[in-house]
Symmetry: C2
């Protein structure tokens, strides 16, 4: 089994390293920026390329992990490669690859990646989709090499998963940031909140979020809510978010 | 060192068990509901009481862990006890205990507790405050028995910490719930999001939330934001939260 990695960002890096670690050969790393191609190629003992003319067209699989809006232009260079072509985007329909002739699909790792933090790929949910049955089998074999959690999802379901991930990750991280700014304004250290943040995430690994919900809004504690809104009077943006989310929690209680 | 525990809910239970585990004697557990007093007293080899006339007035410390709106009425029974009196509430000013004669204060554990899940109290930030210097020394000694993370904070700072905890825990849990409902509507399993939720919380243990922020709003990816809002068109409540939080993330980027 060998792979060409198209892209050199966070997702490309984590996937390429995880493939390499399980013995899959990374034959080439393509990046528009030759320096970036060289860095990831060095990590995975691959050949860096930036010129499409140098592409090895006989690999088993081409993994596209570039910015969403660059997938289509990259795919145009992969229409007649021998192996299967997959993109890794949560937000992009599979149909962006429809000009690829020998089978295509999606391998979407549902996780947040940053270059500075290792991720155990065996626990990352991989959501896969394919243009036809034999492509799906090929992608499933590749995905199951990487992770114990492989699910077949449609493009529409993947779109929903991507929105849900924005709520569960991007928005929660923003709430962490708002709380950290609030503490900073009052000479308090964000470290004080870190155990609470971790415990809140750990709770829903075994309980449902509905069971785990606590706080003034769910108990309809108007006195505390009013005191909190008063404390936020100098930061109307925070006040609005407090109000919006408290109302949403109360509605759930109906 | 011995303690009377006033209350039998989540906070009372976790604190009493943690005290017992480090060798502090729990002499009595008071609860308005005698059944609840008996349950926690049995766990901590204490005497259950429900009648204030039975209160042992000679303990070293009285830990009040009852609902916020019951603290004042409970404190009225503790004005002339020998030991120090502390409440454990994030949202309640210390002054609610001002009729207590022999020293009082606050011992606020900044964590979310549920009866079904053990918590390592040695890692829970304990925020303390006291009416005077010698009370503060006593509360500090008690707090440092339990946890390695003891901070002195004012009532006003504690109020801010409590609001920040609502953002970082109650509201994030609600976002988990909204994402789980969205998945359920589309026949997708919430398990798919659990590794992402945990990783998002783990990231800010070592990076700042600002450094960790990802997603369409921070990169001002209008196309994805529009697609997400379209996907949420049948759930206007979610659409409003998506819009509010995305706008807040974009503002931070300025």
């Amino acid at each position: 089994m060998n792979i060409v990695c198209i892209g050199s960002g966070n997702v490309a890096t984590h996937l390429a390293i995880a493939f390499k670690a399980i013995g899959v050969d990374i034959v080439q790393v393509w990046s528009q920026d030759s320096r970036n191609a060289e860095i990831l190629a060095a990590l995975t003992k691959a050949t860096p390329i930036s010129d499409w003319d140098e592409l090895d067209r006989s690999a088993d699989c081409y993994v596209i992990a570039v910015k969403d809006n660059a997938i289509a232009s990259v795919a145009a260079h992969l229409t007649d490669v021998k192996g299967i072509v997959v993109h890794t985007s949560g937000a992009t329909p599979m149909s962006v690859l429809s000009a690829v002739k020998n089978g295509y699909g999606v391998l979407y790792p549902l996780q947040t990646f940053s270059k500075s933090k290792a991720v155990d790929m065996t626990r990352v949910p991989l959501c896969i989709e394919a243009d036809r049955e034999d492509s799906l089998e090929k992608i499933k074999i590749i995905a199951q090499l990487l992770s114990a959690k492989v699910s077949v999802v449609t493009s529409q379901q993947r779109g929903i998963l991507h929105v849900a991930a924005v709520f569960a990750s991007n928005f929660t991280n923003h709430l962490y940031q708002l709380s950290s700014e609030l503490l900073e304004q009052h000479q308090l250290n964000f470290d004080l909140l870190k155990p609470l943040i971790l415990e809140t995430a750990e709770k829903v690994q075994s309980s449902t979020p509905a069971e785990a919900q606590t706080g003034p809004a769910i108990r309809n504690d108007q006195e505390t809510i009013k005191r909190h809104l008063d404390l936020l009077s100098s930061t109307p943006g925070l006040q609005q978010i407090y109000q919006t989310l408290s109302n949403s929690i109360k509605k759930n209680d109906l």
